[in-house]
């Protein structure tokens, strides 16, 4: 099964999704899109999976769209680049941001174009020291897609977002941490163990509560303070009904470690 575009592994309630076209720096073709969509969709509904880790095989994380699929003949009509965005990239970004459980991205190497923005759409991004982020779109006359123009100004502010998007420079992982784009940098040989440790920790936490946190933080990007305060009230109401909240309070009273089930 060497021709599989992704690798999928589930252990200790964590789903590991690894992009697996290392020769093409894990860039997306249609088959890979379909495989990723199918996996994320299934995991989103599967209560046995309580955290997700996305990573790449080989030296790159993901180089975005495979440009071999998009060779433009100068004499032919212009391609409709909106089609693959509508069909694949946008639903993927929504699946990651709406996944009711934490999604960790372990960026093992270069994350370019849509590959960078897929990483940034995840909840917690940790990167290997040698990894980098490139908003490569501007170099081809394109616009950062897969949520790039939405997430960048929210992560790093407008001034840095403009610079990143208009210059398309290669941003090393350590610089990305300084800018607030990602959570953490680790030594290259530590990336998979650190990602696994983080994911296994999160997979034991109150998953439903974490999903509500995720929802609130995403909503904050569009809400006024008044709206957000109302949302917090609503979500807390829901969280208060969860069995994990009961367990958390009981464990605290009984001075023991809580055992969360995720609901």
């Amino acid at each position: 099964m060497d021709d599989q575009t992704i690798r999928v592994d589930v252990r200790n309630a964590v789903g590991y999704l690894t992009f697996n076209r290392p020769k093409q720096l894990n860039s997306f073709n249609e088959i890979m899109h379909q495989a990723v969509a199918q996996t994320l969709k299934a995991w989103s509904k599967d209560p046995a999976i309580r955290a997700v880790v996305i990573s790449g095989e080989g030296r790159g994380f993901c180089a975005g769209q495979d440009l071999n699929d998009r060779v433009v003949d100068p004499n032919s009509a212009s391609p409709d680049l909106g089609l693959s965005i509508e069909k694949y990239y946008n639903p993927m970004i929504k699946m990651i941001t709406e996944m009711p459980k934490p999604v960790i991205c372990a960026v093992n190497g270069v994350a370019a174009g849509a590959g960078a923005n897929i990483a940034l759409a995840c909840d917690i991004v940790i990167a290997a020291k040698s990894a980098s982020f490139i908003q490569a779109f501007c170099r081809l006359g394109l616009v950062p897609d897969s949520g790039g123009t939405w997430i960048l100004p929210r992560l790093v502010g407008r001034a840095q977002a403009m610079g990143l998007a208009m210059l398309g420079d290669k941003i090393p992982a350590e610089r990305a941490v300084q800018l607030g784009m990602i959570w953490q940098v680790v030594e290259d040989d530590q990336l998979s163990t650190e990602a696994e440790k983080l994911a296994e920790h999160l997979a034991k936490q109150p998953t439903y509560g974490l999903s509500l946190i995720k929802k609130a933080i995403h909503a904050a990007a569009d809400n006024s303070l008044d709206e957000q305060l109302i949302l917090e009230r609503d979500l807390q109401r829901l969280a208060g009904r969860s069995s994990d909240y009961r367990e958390g309070v009981q464990a605290f009273m009984q001075k023991r470690t809580p055992e969360y089930t995720g609901c």
Binding site: D234, R237, L238, R241
Partner: protein, 256 residues
Amino acid sequence: MDYIRSSSNDAGVVLIELNRPEKRNALNNATLKQLADLLSEIEQDPALRVVVLTGNVQCFAAGADLNELAQMDAVSLQQDPRPLLWKRIDEFSKPLIMAVNGYALGAGFELALHADIVLCGENAQFALPEIGLGMLPGAGGTQRLARLVGTQLCMRWAMTGQMISARVALQHGIVSQVCPSDLTVQYAQDLANSIAKQAPLAIRAIKQSLKSIHEVTLSQGLKMERQHFVWLAATQDRNEGIQAFLEKRKPQFRGV
């Protein structure tokens, strides 16, 4: 067979749940009949003040019952009891609040359009998909929706059958509040409880006054509003309301 379930609380709020989950609460004649009959009973009981109507968390009502509809030709549709059932729902005089989660499609959407106030969950999706079956909405869909959102959007939605999300529904006044889906019914009941505390005769006058706006001209509507206003002066609840305000206490309305 019971296609609906109901219960009421001390405040006089009745919760009606469409309960045909295996058919996604499809509104067959029997369901509509049970609903209309129940509303008639509630109409007669002065202790019952406000109705909250809902489906379940995944689905409000996914349309009419197509098996029923498929068997009907032009002649039998001419004698269809449905228009009269819809009319009885429309004529219910007490506040009717709908809590819509999930799909409200076709007749389900049209039922929601019979509400005085609609709250919906984030997962709510409204649509008039009749066009996909070579039909048009037959229970006021084109009429009530156009009056809510204007002909542009209504044409588009009725001609395409396109889904309307909770957010878009809020934006265009199809609903007045979007809630986390698991809280929609609770928030509808909270609203119903607060309306149930008001003077029933004044509430009824407000509903009548508002429901007539598409039937009469503005000047006639203003006259009717004024008549309601004058008539309420003959009620004890109006005196109680004003008195309580002046005495800085909560009013006790009795519906007299």
